[in-house]
Symmetry: C3
Subunit: 331 residues, 3 copies
């Protein structure tokens, strides 16, 4: 494995192999496996889990890392090809990223969607420009419409808590004070389909995921024997659910239009996941969220603090899953 | 030892044992003692000594660390139970801190007082909420009314420069352009009492330490054979002093009222420690300060640069004392 | 070697020795050479290459590092002697830097020019104040008028691509949206002269380097058999050039006067290095720049992406050259 950019680059069996490696490293730590190896971490956006877990992952395998935060201690980096750089960006990714790659054994890059033009973001225009100039092992730490590290951790978590392959997996939109990216829902719908689950995307009007995202998930479902459908009917979606995975995201019909999104969102305050959402769910239905989560806006305390929540396990599995990725890329 | 949150949690003999360990590690370094151990450092507030010395402490013992700064590269974290999180905080400590703890072998947390409600801060409401969700070894890197790492370093420094147990220790208020927390004076008055010294808190009207803080120090003095009193009479306080420990802090009668504090402070410009403060002190009287210090506002150059200042030794002992704490928690 | 503050502190033979060590460490890595050693890195200003390459350099030699950024996670530090500190700076370098030095085995400090008073900056007033309170090995990570790490990397790069000692080296001014420091041009003209090259400084009126800088370069040229001259005649400068080294810098006749500099600069948009600049250059003329570079403002894409550009090699040699410095200071 040379790059870890998209879970779709791996077959279902390759994902299972990677998760087996993750479990092996948990059971039998290899504290010198990456001795002398250095990971460069480039964060264009804030982070808690990714920032901590990648540093820890390298340390637990005997390697080390450094963190670069463009715009905060480091110059802002320009991504546009051919730009006349007379604005805020002092350096271009065409220099900045290859230089960092030349110091490190691998790079990880986090670069959220620009959130202006949906087609631009769905095409991963910026991340692809970055990946194109990095000639070292590369990890996607969350891009415009992907978050493969989160998806790998979630898959591992589903396995650990015994969710069957064919279970009903509901990805539900949740409320948030502001527009947020579609990276996690896009990655999650694909992951669940790739795992072979019965996937239902539950979201209000105006928040449908882009066709290219849904098509990709459907293709994964077709290969794995799962299914993917979408609905705005909460009762239909939640009935018999084995897993509810909540996530906030921005309107796709009002993409890049914060005011339009806010107007739409004003009527959606009841999209805060509460315990009564689970009344008709399957027994032992699990609750998942990638974190960070806005308590009592997106998800009520009663759910997050209740027994069905496995959000801390998901977050811990960021570390265990990513250690397998690092091992595969660098050992 | 599972946690290092308050020097008052340790008996005098336990403090002496910890300082003996610190001296042993200085004399006989153990560069592999914490091999493979990882410390997570969470800074809600700025730092120089704490930020550097904990990273170095782990490195000198063969371990490693990572730094998380909520609000700067990481989301702001909400601390209030039951909050409806529709404001600036994207994540709650109930998720953020357990996740970080699950990656690390121990956490250190710095979270200054909110400075609005004195009872809330004296009760350590926020820090206790944080400590309550961390189920790993935990270190207080400075909380609302405590700074045990500073106190341990100061106790070690007093020992090293030969200040006797029964010496006269004057904790003096000093001027500052703004309101600052009472964490260090609160920790210091207790530490000096716990060590068994004759402690005098010298402060102008309006800057008395809260009764709960003074009572805690008096209880420590009773156990160690020391004493604690407070005064606004500088001549009385400084006469015969063996140590003057200066610290800036905010008014407790105008707590949370910056304008009221400023009005009070306007007449207190002469609370800048100068060499003439030591005219009636004991021979060889030492000058201490936890740093950072506002030169020529809180303390004059002539004192900081003169022979009685041991502020750099105190700062260096942050490292040596904390290495003993890390060793005790993690070795 | 106790300090690495200025390439002029080393004789030409000493520079060659240091570069030989750099090549030896590339050919024969010594991953335990600095085991247990800790480098403190203090950045008063942004960085990408320096920030990453020093952390990596320590890691590749088995040591470690920590980063302190005054004003961002750490208090702002005052540099002025005798200051009454009632402003934004909470701590003085007289405390802050010795404390950090006492934790580490060596310090590196980056502190750009203040950009107000040319004489103050050319005299390295601030950096000398800092160096004066650090009693540990110290590295200049870029000061007001120097950048010895960049110069050492550039010298190594010139050697690697086979630029002869007596080649014609043109340091050319380039456009930029704002005033930038003269540290790199000052270091570069000296480095090229010290190496024994035929150095031409090409710059428009108002951008002459200060006499003290030029005199220092001329003294180096006299010792090495090289030469130094300056001109505003681009055709004259570029004819027969073996190397063009572009750099943006601020007006020295309008130093500290951003509006005056901007007025001067408004007529200088054609100082963006384009491929046609090389029409009369020597065959195989190389293009150098220290980075970061404003594409299509200072240098056109066609040059940076073309075959004569060795900017990425220079940047990579920041790491390889600095590892020799670290080894010399700490091994």
């Amino acid at each position: 494995m040379k790059r870890f950019l998209d879970l779709a680059d791996l077959s279902r069996d390759e994902v299972l192999d990677l998760l087996a490696l993750a479990r092996r490293l948990e059971a039998h730590p290899e504290p010198r496996a990456l001795a002398g190896k250095i990971l460069g971490l480039v964060f264009f956006n804030p982070s808690l889990r990714t920032l901590a877990s990648f540093q820890v992952g390298m340390q637990r395998l005997g390697g080390s890392s450094f963190v670069i935060t463009p715009g905060q201690g480091t110059w802002q980096l320009e991504t546009r090809t051919g730009a006349v750089m007379d604005g805020a960006c002092a350096e271009h990714i065409r220099e900045g990223l290859p230089v960092l790659a030349s110091y490190a054994d691998a790079l990880g890059i986090r670069a959220f969607a620009e959130g202006k033009d949906l087609a631009h973001d769905v095409a991963e225009t910026s991340f692809k420009a970055m990946a194109g100039v990095v000639h070292k092992p590369l990890i996607n730490l969350e891009s415009a419409v992907n978050h493969p590290c989160q998806s790998l951790a979630d898959w591992k978590t589903l396995d650990e808590v015994g969710v069957p392959q064919r279970a009903k997996f509901v990805l539900s939109w949740a409320n948030h004070p502001r527009v947020t990216p579609i990276a996690v829902p896009a990655a999650t719908v694909h992951m669940a389909a790739h795992r072979g689950m019965e996937v239902v995307v539950l979201r209000p009007e105006g928040y449908a995921l882009p066709p290219a995202i849904m098509d990709k998930a459907r293709a994964a479902a077709a290969a794995s024997g799962g299914s993917v459908r979408e609905t705005d009917d909460r009762a239909d979606a939640l009935a018999g659910a084995h897993v509810v995975y909540a996530k906030e995201w921005g309107s796709t019909t009002h993409y890049g239009d914060a005011a339009g999104d806010a107007a739409l969102r004003a009527g959606l305050k009841d999209w805060c996941v509460r315990e009564d959402w689970f009344a008709t769910a399957a027994a032992g239905c699990k609750f998942m969220h990638c974190l960070p989560v806005r308590r009592n806006v997106a998800v009520a305390d009663e759910v997050l603090d209740g027994p069905r929540s496995i959000v801390l396990r998901e977050a811990h599995n960021r570390l265990t899953a990513q250690m397998a990725v690092l091992y595969r890329l660098l050992a």
